[in-house]
């Protein structure tokens, strides 16, 4: 696979639902009520239940591994949560190549809400099997 700085990787649009939040809470073992109990979420000044940060990280992980396939290995992956996201709103995951040095490639990755706010931002470092 050929990559160059500036390339955008294919985007991934996820459609999170409250059902998915409950499934994720169970699969991760994170039962913090802000992810499935509307009344509790509002009692801590949130507009309602919100996505787990780590679920958004998983979406961005999928963005990268879908693009990478078996062309390389994920070496590091970092995400920072800048805003909350609610179920019922599509979550658009995007990424761009920002550095390329032989087999080492760095991507900027981010997740956008429907208003275009980058509520999750991060980076992924991959080692390609063949020099880019």
């Amino acid at each position: 696979m050929k990559v160059k700085v500036g390339d955008e990787i294919p985007e991934l649009v996820k459609q999170p639902t409250t059902r998915q939040l409950v499934r994720y809470a169970g699969a991760q073992g994170d039962f913090y009520e802000i992810h499935y109990d509307q009344d509790y979420a509002r009692s801590v000044a949130l507009p309602g239940v919100i996505l787990h940060g780590l679920l958004k990280a998983a979406f961005l992980g999928q963005l990268v591994t879908d693009w990478l396939g078996d062309s390389g290995t994920l070496k590091a992956f970092e995400v920072s949560y800048r805003g909350i996201d609610q179920p019922g709103r599509p979550y658009r995951c995007r990424g761009k190549v920002v550095k390329e040095d032989g087999r080492n490639v760095e991507l900027e990755v981010w997740g956008e809400d429907p208003d275009g706010n980058r509520t999750t931002v991060g980076s992924a470092t991959v080692e390609m099997r063949e020099p880019a």
Binding site: K14, Q20, R23, Y24, G26, A27, Q28, G29, Y32, I34, V44, A45, L46, H52, G53, L54, L55, A57, A58, F59, G61, Q62, V64, T65, D66, T73, L74, K75, A76, F77, E78, V79, S80, Y81, G122
Partner: protein
């Protein structure tokens, strides 16, 4: 102010290591996790997807006194470093520690930041991954 006292007590926990926690990567758990995140890649029937380790071994230590600060928790961010793939059947041991505790002014008041670091080692004693997580009390 009580918050200062909580901050001091929490800062005293910097460097504290939690008892190691071990768990075997089970095919059923891996499948449930991949289904929950909605990633249909068949690769995840055998291998752990990028964020799976947080579901295997708790990624942060329970610091009860932190709950005296603010109203709720927020996840600030996570950084994963991958050394070796984690596969079905692997026995992973995670050891977490409190790396840092500090207060920072946010747009709606002061926030408390707790940085956790976890190292994951497999059944052969080889490190497979590291995780750094930022937990925030608001």
């Amino acid at each position: 102010m009580a918050a200062t006292d909580v901050l001091d007590r929490l800062r005293g926990r910097i460097g504290t290591t939690a008892p190691p926690v071990s768990a075997v990567v089970e095919a059923g758990h891996l499948k449930r996790f991949a289904e929950a995140i909605g990633d249909p890649n068949p690769r995840w029937l055998e291998e752990a997807p990028p964020t799976f380790l947080v579901a295997l071994v708790p990624a942060s230590m329970h610091l009860a006194e932190a709950e005296e600060y603010g109203k709720g928790w927020l996840n600030g961010g996570n950084r994963f470093e991958y050394i070796e793939p984690v596969k079905v059947g692997d026995r992973i041991t995670g050891t977490g520690r409190v790396a840092d505790v500090y207060e920072k002014a946010g747009s709606s008041g002061t926030l408390l930041f707790i940085i956790f670091e976890t190292e994951y080692v497999n059944q052969h004693g080889r490190p497979v991954a590291r995780l750094r997580g930022t937990a925030i009390r608001r």
